[in-house]
């Protein structure tokens, strides 16, 4: 019996995986082919999607990358029916896999997320059973505390301690919320876990609920994750049907049910108190703490909020014990961390590495370095709340303390790699635009202060910056950090402050020389045709919408700077690479 498994997480679907699946479905002949067609979540190699895995009698596994519907015919003919591996399509990125340790992603890309049976076969709700039957809630908390697991949502608060607080609150009702409001641009860890392994998250929630004494859970998930929502909904129904959720779980009198709440896409709703407000039907707006949610959260009851990745760790820790978990990581940061590797990187995708691995290792060894092959210039960690770490700090081990020391934050796991074509002022501007738009508008400094910083950055990118702007950015940035109620405002200036710290020269060049070293700020670059290289083919002239290019056939063409709008079409179209930015 052969198996064909197609990666149909959002990354696979985006790359065209559905068409591949349908093609297999259409061409495979049940009579002729003894093939089981399956789908699975993200295996991590998003850069090679759509991925198709062929198993022969459950033994040998072959992974094909970049499978198009056209390639399906040949795979069926040659491999499935002919038994011959098509070597040139096989994915053998050993380096990508070798250094990773998959705990959170243990089931992602391995099982069919729509099937509880598949989950039961591989892992099942054993950890929940074990917790409920063998441990008291206090013991469960002890195990988690001992494992050293810290919240993966960004702040890194020890999960065991958080549960202890929630447990200590005396109230007949408590809530457990799974925070799946993953909003950082470029981050997709939680989405992949929810899409690829929803039951692990649900099981983690149930164990957490048992530990703290909650009887009602919520998954607060972004509505922009339709696949995750779909799979979660199904998984909840399946778990309820089998009695893993609901009344009297495992016959031990433990009741816990889970509701799904779709968020409307406000970034700030990732903040605990804003998230609670949102579930309550109010505007997603952070409020003053204390009282902390653990004392008075949702509807005024004690509430524990854990991130998707944190919860996905739980069943593994319960099953394997805290000692096994502690093997990985550094002194203060235990276990593994999932990163969404993106940007100018060769092998972009989802990776899970033990804490303590250096940035260089992740970027060069797992990610394969930059696309251009040159050294990376900086890596942006922690999304809009994070910062840019320069390549000179490439040896920084990844753990909460060390990353924070650089001025960036661990965050939820976004890791955007930048090379020499990335302008750091522009990057700061990009992230600040995001946070400014996503500010809930409550605090003065976050609402107006970030706007003023953004305006200044925009001016600098336009070549209208002044030297005093840099002092103003630094000053205002610090003020915003210390004068905002929630994490959004407290971290919003980070991208600016870290780039100012590590790439001050780049700012200065923009201001003093009115130049953008990365040639990314269009106001500061001009497009030229190199007469040495141009062969006068006329392609650029035809493509130019502004009619800024002129020239006789077979003689070098010229761009009229007064007309050029710097759209960049000519650069893309020129086969000689004769168009340059200066």
């Amino acid at each position: 019996m052969q198996g064909v498994t197609i990666g149909l997480a959002s990354c696979g679907i985006a790359a065209g995986g559905l068409a591949v699946y349908e093609k297999f479905e259409k061409l495979l002949d049940p009579a002729k082919d003894k093939v089981i067609l399956k789908q699975t979540g993200c295996v991590g190699m998003c850069y090679r999607e759509p991925l198709v895995e062929i198993t022969d009698n459950g033994k040998k596994k072959i992974l094909y990358g970049e499978v198009t519907p056209e390639r399906v015919d040949r795979i069926i003919e040659e491999h499935l029916r002919g038994g011959k591996v098509i070597e040139e399509w096989v994915v053998e990125d050993i380096d990508f896999v070798k250094k990773q340790k998959r705990i959170v992603l243990r089931n992602c890309g391995e099982i069919d997320p729509f099937s509880l049976d598949a989950y039961m076969e591989r892992e099942g709700y054993g950890a929940l059973g074990k917790s409920v039957k063998e441990y008291t809630p206090e013991q469960v908390i002890e195990i988690i505390a001992d494992s050293g697991l810290r919240g993966r949502g960004g702040a890194g608060f020890p999960t065991g301690t958080k549960w202890r607080f929630a447990r200590a609150s005396k109230d007949e009702h408590k809530y457990l919320i799974c925070n799946a409001d993953e909003g950082d641009p470029g981050a997709f860890m939680d989405r992949s876990v929810l899409e690829g392994d929803p039951h692990s998250v649900l099981q983690g929630m149930a164990i957490a609920a048992y530990a703290i004494g909650a009887d009602q859970g919520y998954v607060y998930v972004r509505a922009e994750y339709p696949q995750a929502v779909k799979r979660l909904r199904l998984a909840i129904a399946q778990a309820e049907e089998r009695g893993f959720l609901g009344h009297n779980i495992f016959g031990k009198g433990f009741n816990f049910s889970i509701k799904l709440k779709e968020g409307a896409g406000a970034f700030v709703c990732g903040e605990e108190t804003a998230l609670i407000a949102s579930i309550e039907g109010k505007r997603g707006m952070p409020r003053v703490r204390p009282p902390f949610p653990a004392e008075a959260g949702l509807w005024g009851h004690p509430t524990c909020i854990n991130n998707v990745e944190t919860l996905a760790n739980i069943p593994w820790i319960i099953m394997n014990g805290s000692a096994a978990y502690k093997v990985y990581g550094t002194e203060k940061s235990k276990g593994t961390k999932v990163f969404a590797l993106a940007g100018k990187i060769k092998r972009g995708g989802l990776v899970e590495v033990p804490m303590g691995m250096t940035l260089n290792e992740v970027i060069y060894e797992i990610g394969g370095g930059t696309k251009s092959g040159g050294p990376f210039k900086a890596v942006q960690m922690g999304g809009p709340s994070g910062g840019c770490i320069p390549s000179t700090l490439g040896k920084t081990p990844i753990d909460y303390e060390n990353i924070t020391a650089t001025g960036a934050i661990m965050g939820s796991g976004g890791m955007v790699v930048m090379d020499e074509t990335t302008c750091m002022v522009d990057v700061a501007r990009f992230f600040l635009t995001f946070t400014q738009n996503e500010s809930c508008g409550k605090c003065t400094f976050c609402r107006i202060g970030t706007k003023r910083m953004l305006e200044t950055l925009e001016r600098i990118c336009m070549g209208r910056g002044e030297e005093k702007d840099l002092t103003m950015l630094a000053e205002l940035g610090e003020q915003i950090k210390t004068s905002s109620l929630c994490g959004l405002g407290q971290t919003a200036p980070n991208p600016v402050l870290t780039t100012l710290r590590y790439f001050y020269n780049e700012y200065e060049t923009h201001i003093k020389d009115k130049k953008c070293p990365a040639k990314a700020c269009l106001a500061l670059v001009d497009f030229f045709i190199n007469p040495e290289v141009c062969n006068g083919c006329g392609l650029c002239m035809k493509s130019c919408d502004s009619k800024a290019i002129s020239g006789e056939k077979k003689t070098p063409h010229v761009i009229d700077q007064s007309i050029c709008v710097k759209c960049g079409k000519c650069i893309t179209i020129c086969r000689q690479s004769a168009v340059e930015k200066r």
């Binding site: 003053v288 003065t444 609402r447 107006i448 706007k451 305006e455």
Partner: protein, 1285 residues
């Protein structure tokens, strides 16, 4: 049928709602916290925030914008930041709760800078004007918007007073000011500037200056010499004299006025007007010495040494005309325009002839040219080297000169004077062209070579500049001279007008060179302030800088901001015809007539912020020296939402502190406003971004009260919004029996509005629509102001004497003909305690009738005395604020959200704090949404329901019977009467589920604090014996005598309790004594000097009888619109005489023989007794429109009837009441001042009796008790807004 409604306001997304956690007492019982603030060890209550502690203990003035003590901490503005040892960065003090050992710093440079930055950020997106640009541009800073508004409303004296705060020469300015204000008036962007000066001239010409004579402070003994009696000197003298300093003006000329007198011709500024204005200043006690010149008759040194002046103000002006500086200038026939003008004043108009040339383009040049025309010159030419557009003279003046025949010769300048025998023959001139703009921005003239020409003429007057007289300091070589500039002007520090010499100040033209009057006035005032400081504090202080936000700093105002401004052309001053006026020196411009002035004033767009006097943002911006430009960037320009008839919402001024949002949602549970959008674009708007008028706003105005800026402001009902500074008067709202404390703000008689009290009492500062906006009623144009008498079946105006005489005659006539029982007094308890008492005395002592009562008593369900036999009196037994601490609130029949809205707010707030509310009402009233339990018995079964509950409590053994030994027998009667009130029977009759009655019984059981609220005047839900059962239920469960528990009885009229106390009830004398109580009756009779013996009756209740069949032939009806009520109307059929006292011409008043205008509570001193028997003090804020207060007219009527009431003075009347009731005036007055309950409840309520009750499902008298006349105005305004109350 039963319904349980457990609503939480956040239940919007359909989630199941769970019980809120029970409130614990942990916070209350915890030990005090000890912490350090600014190094000082402080003890404070746990749970308090840093801000609360600092403010409560007055440790520092921490600014805060988003904090409102009534709301939960929010923490958004970050203006209140402090430093806490060990914490990173700045900590918002409003959200941070204190902890033991905390070390807080509230003041240092870093904190100052952080707060300043927060304010600068807020103000960088604050597209608003603090004050109007016209005021901002006035050198003297006169409140232009304020006085233009007052003028529009006809308050001319008040307007003049406002002008004179900054400018003591309004008559002069009203005619000749150059109007820098008009230059910057925003109306320029729409069409033409407002004719501000026309309005000012109207004000000064139409107001009685004697009425606003300012008070001069007691003499300080300090002497100030003022050198020069021009506008600067006069202004300085004015303000110094007001401060009590002894001021002496020295002037070199024969009369005061300086340039105003000797430079400005009669036709522009009549000397008589000038003299009057100067006389007003002199009348403040200013000494004047004329014809004495500094440097000649005295010196600076002599002033100080010999005359012992403590300070000197130099304002000698610039009286020397500049010379042309061309050859031949000494010829006869050439002189300075100034000399020419001055001579014309001193010696009378000159006789000129031939051709006259005036050189120059300023106002003096025009004055000289126009004077020359009037002095007989054949031809007058104005020679000016630039073009007309560059002329410094006011363009209207240039126009006027041209109309009078003055010829303009522009772009030409004199180069030489051609003389013959030493006498002028011609002026040689050269043509000019305009070159590059110079420093002043004007294009400088350049001579065109070879363009010389000769202009034959007989006189040349030069008006090309003026200089100070340099001789004034030259006399005494010993003397220290003030420093002067190269131009010869005295050098001063512009902000305080100090010279380099101590005690010597200077201002006016001598400092600036020739300038305009308003600059000199500004100098004079600034100097007066500095001199005052110098004299009283020994040093000069710089004036406090005040932050001013202005739209102009954000660039040109887009046209769309003016889209809705109606275009109205500017009015023009009428002028005398040029042909006539050029022959004399009579004034040229005549003032605007009133309609035109009002139209002109109404063109004012009122740019200045209505909150300018109290805005916190502005105050802090001032304190923190905010630089509005430092963090400037994009600014949002919103349209102002003026849709709501009572509230203006200007999002431009909103700082998103969300106090309105939170107040509306949390305090009022209304949620009209909310946040919209995100990031920089976040705004606060009504839901769905609709205008406020289309929102579910209940117009309570609480948002206005909490707004720290001018984003939410109240609309005044006058058409003009001011703003004006006002005086606050403590008062009590008189629109329902709650008697909420209010502040009445008064600008002047006729401009009043109410706000929440500065010191909030038991009502916590809440106000409803009626309290906040109802004051408009006082100024309603429909108010009666003259007494009316029926003549030939028509009501015609009459004098008070005649009307009161007629009323007395008619009432006495009926009494004499039909007996005293035929006359009745019907008075509504909207009157004060004192008025009620006087009405009672009038009725019994003057008319001899005991037939006195209120509308409700007589016509609507009789007197509510249900509890008299049980508790001794039918009154509330606990306090209003007991609601705040009660565990269970029981609302029976009442619907406070509608009838007593502020109580509705209190109840909702109590529920939010954890109290449990049970609503017993057949209708789904608003408060049912907030209740833990809502029982809806069938109408008319309330008594049965309560009986069922009482029975249930009895069965459960919850009654406290042991202390009731005295009433044991009655207890048996009561329980026997409840025999039928079995659970099943009650539920069958009332239509309720038995378990719900158990739920209610459960809520009432145990030792909880319970407050039961019952509306005596609600007749919809009322059922037989319900109040008696309720009272006995409360009594038997111990809740009448337990502190914090009890009954609250609502009533519709504000002073129902007061009426009871005053004896405004048939058969009952003041203090609640029955008239059959012989001792008290005789005592009263003795005090009143009246015989009350004939009034004792066997059966009290039958005295009034059925109104329809009663023998009443004459009635005095006060504040009752009887005939508006079908039942009450029947009384009129037998009436021969009807005398009405009311605010309006009601239906009843229309058929009366005599109508007397009543005063409102704002128009009289007096006392109100609130529904919980607390006393409220009324203050007379404004005189009654008819001139006579209700108390006065009662007394006069009584006197006229032959019974002399010695006084109508509220205090004395009150003393009479206290005397009658044997209460020491001291005790009573103290109780009154403290707002305490009176009479004392030391041993009240006594449990007198229990009584059997009737179980009947008969509804009682289902009528609607109208909130009639007084609220008619309010109701109409509500109806206009589409709000149904």
């Amino acid at each position: 049928m039963w319904q349980m409604h457990n609503h939480m306001p956040s239940e919007r997304c359909g989630e199941e709602v769970r019980k809120m956690p029970e409130k614990t007492d942990i916070e209350r019982t915890r030990l005090p916290v000890e912490l350090k603030i600014n190094g000082r060890t402080i003890t404070a209550r746990p749970g308090q925030t840093i801000l609360e502690v600092v403010r409560e203990q007055k440790l520092d003035d921490i600014p805060s914008l988003c904090h409102d003590p009534k709301l939960e901490p929010f923490g958004s503005c970050f203006v209140c930041v402090v430093e806490v040892k060990g914490a990173k960065g700045f900590i918002p003090s409003c959200t941070t709760r204190i902890r033991d050992g905390m070390e807080v710093t509230t003041r240092n440079e870093k904190i100052y800078y952080a707060r300043k930055s927060a304010l600068e950020l807020l103000l960088s997106d604050h597209y608003a004007d603090c004050i109007c640009p016209a005021q901002n541009n006035c050198p003297a800073g006169v409140d232009v918007q304020g006085y233009v508004g007052l003028a529009k409303l006809g308050h001319y004296e008040e307007a003049l007073r406002l002008i004179k705060e900054k400018n003591p020469l309004p008559v002069i300015c009203g005619r000749i000011c150059v109007r820098k204000c008009e230059l910057k008036c925003r109306r320029n962007d729409v069409d033409e500037p407002v004719g501000i000066n026309y309005v000012k001239r109207f004000i000064v010409e139409h107001s009685n200056h004697d009425l606003i004579k300012p008070e001069v402070k007691p003499p300080t003994g300090k002497k100030v010499a003022i050198i020069g009696g021009g506008p600067a000197g006069l202004t300085c003298a004015n303000y110094l004299a007001l401060q009590g300093h002894s001021v002496k003006i020295f002037d070199a000329m024969p009369k005061l006025g300086g340039m105003l007198r000797y430079g400005i011709p009669e036709y522009r500024l009549p000397k008589a007007e000038l003299d009057n204005e100067i006389a007003e200043i002199i009348s403040l006690g200013v000494d004047v010495v004329t014809n004495k010149k500094l440097g000649k008759d005295f010196t600076l040194a002599s002033l100080k040494k010999q005359d012992k002046f403590d300070a000197v103000f130099l304002s000698p002006g610039a009286p020397i005309g500049s010379k042309l500086g061309v050859p031949g200038e000494d010829a006869e026939g050439i002189e300075s325009a100034l000399d020419f003008l001055c001579d014309s004043v001193l010696k009378g108009p000159r006789k000129l002839h031939g051709k006259v040339v005036v050189v120059g383009g300023g106002n003096s040049a025009i004055d000289a040219a126009r004077t020359a025309v009037r002095s007989g010159a054949h031809e007058v030419t104005l020679l000016y080297r630039r073009t007309r557009a560059e002329m410094p003279a006011h363009h209207e003046e240039v126009d006027a000169a041209e109309k009078e025949g003055v010829r303009l010769e522009i772009l030409a300048a004199p180069t030489e004077v051609i003389a013959e025998k030493g006498r002028l023959k011609a002026l040689k001139c050269i043509r000019m062209a305009l070159g590059e703009p110079d420093q002043s921005g004007r294009r400088s003239p350049v001579p065109i070579k070879g363009s010389e020409f000769e202009y034959p003429c007989d006189f040349v007057f030069c008006a090309i500049g003026q200089q100070t007289d340099k001789t004034i300091f030259n006399v005494d070589p010993e003397e220290q001279r003030p420093a002067v500039s190269r131009r010869g002007t005295i050098t001063v520090d512009d902000s305080v007008m100090t010279t380099n010499l101590p005690g010597v100040f200077a201002g006016g033209d001598a400092v600036t060179g020739p300038a305009v009057v308003i600059d000199a006035i500004a100098h004079g005032r600034r100097a007066a302030e500095a001199i005052h400081h110098y004299l009283t504090k020994g040093k000069v202080e710089k004036p406090k800088w005040t932050f001013i936000s202005g739209r102009d700093v954000f660039g040109k105002i887009p046209e769309r901001m003016y889209e809705e401004v109606p275009r109205i052309p500017r009015q023009h001053l009428p002028e005398r015809e040029p042909e006539i006026r050029r022959r004399d020196f009579e004034q040229v411009e005549l003032g605007l007539p009133r309609p035109e002035m009002e139209l002109e004033a109404s063109r004012c767009m009122e740019c200045g912020c209505k909150a300018q006097f109290y805005c916190d943002l502005r105050r802090y911006a001032t304190d923190y020296n905010v630089d509005i430009m430092r963090l400037s960037g994009a600014v949002r320009r919103h349209k102002v939402d003026s849709s709501h008839p009572l509230i203006t919402f200007d999002p431009n001024k909103c700082i998103l502190c969300a106090r309105c949002v939170r107040t509306c949602a949390n305090v009022l549970s209304q949620s009209v406003l909310g946040f919209v959008e995100r990031g920089f674009n976040t705004t606060i708007k009504p839901s769905l971004g609709r205008p406020l008028a289309e929102s579910p706003c209940i117009s309570c105005g609480a948002c206005i009260e909490t707004c720290p800026t001018g984003a939410l402001t109240a609309k005044l009902p006058y058409g003009r919004q001011g703003p004006w500074k006002s005086e606050k008067f403590q008062s009590v709202c008189s629109f329902c029996s709650l008697g909420c404390s209010i502040d009445i703000n008064k600008v002047t008689d006729g401009i009043l509005w109410a706000t929440s009290p500065a010191i909030s009492g038991p009502d916590e500062g809440d106000l409803c629509f009626k309290g906040r906006f109802g004051t408009g009623l006082i100024q309603s144009s429909e108010r009666l102001s003259k007494p009316l008498i029926r003549k030939n079946n028509q009501l015609v105006e009459a004098g008070w004497d005649e009307a009161i005489g007629e009323a007395a005659r008619l009432l006495a006539d009926v009494r004499d003909r039909y007996g005293s029982e035929s006359v009745a007094v019907l008075a509504q308890p909207r009157m004060t305690l004192e008025e009620c008492y006087l009405a009672g005395r009038l009725s019994r002592a003057a008319l001899g009738t005991d037939k006195i009562g209120t509308f409700g008593q007589v016509f609507k369900g009789g007197i509510r005395n249900d509890l008299d036999d049980i508790l001794g009196e039918t009154s509330s037994t606990c306090f209003r604020e007991d609601i705040n601490t009660a565990d269970t609130l029981l609302l029976i029949g009442a619907d406070p959200s509608k009838t007593h809205p502020v109580l509705g707010m209190s109840l909702r707030r109590a529920v939010r704090k954890g109290a449990k509310l049970a609503v017993l009402n057949s209708s789904n009233i608003d408060l049912a949404r907030y209740s833990k339990l809502w029982l809806d018995p069938r109408r008319g079964t309330m008594g049965i329901l309560l009986a069922g509950v009482l029975r249930r409590l009895m069965d459960r053994g919850e009654l406290i019977t042991e202390s009731l030994s005295k009433v044991n027998g009655e207890m048996k009667l009561l329980s026997d009467s409840l025999a039928n009130a079995t659970l099943d029977e009650v539920c069958r009759v009332a239509g309720l589920d038995p378990s719900r009655i158990d739920d209610l019984a459960e809520m009432l059981a145990g030792g909880r604090k319970i407050v039961a609220i019952y509306d005596l005047d609600d007749t919809q839900e009322r059922a037989q014996d319900d109040l008696a059962i309720l009272a006995q239920l409360m009594l038997l469960t111990g809740h009448i005598s337990r502190p914090g528990s009890g009954l609250l009885l609502l009533q519709s009229d504000c002073n129902s309790e007061g009426a009871r106390l005053a004896g405004m009830r048939e058969g009952v004398l003041p203090g609640g004594y029955s008239i059959s109580n012989g001792k008290f009756r005789r005592k009263t009779g003795k005090l009143w000097k009246a015989d009350l013996e004939g009034m004792v009756r066997e059966n009290r209740n039958s005295v009034f009888g059925k109104p329809s069949s009663s023998q009443i032939r004459g009635a005095l009806v006060m504040l009752n619109d009887l005939l508006n009520d079908p039942e009450a109307r029947q009384i009129s059929s037998n009436l021969e005489t009807l005398v009405v006292v009311d605010h309006f011409l009601t239906e009843t008043a229309k058929v009366a023989q005599v109508v007397l205008p009543a005063s409102t509570p704002a128009e009289t001193d007096g006392t109100m007794v609130r529904f919980d028997r607390r006393l409220g003090i009324l203050t007379k804020v404004t005189p009654p429109p008819g001139g006579l207060s209700t108390a006065e007219l009662i007394c006069r009527l009584s006197n006229e009837l032959g019974h002399r009431i010695p006084t109508s003075d509220a205090t004395q009347v009150r003393q009479e009441i206290w005397k009658l009731l044997e209460i020491t005036p001291e005790d009573a007055e103290k109780a009154r001042q403290d707002g305490k309950m009176w009479p004392s409840i030391k041993d009240y309520p006594k449990i007198r009796h229990l009584r059997a009750v009737q179980l009947s499902s008969r509804t009682m008298h289902p009528v609607h008790l109208s909130y009639a006349t007084l609220d008619g105005y309010i109701q109409r305004r509500l109806a206009q807004m589409g709000i149904d109350i």
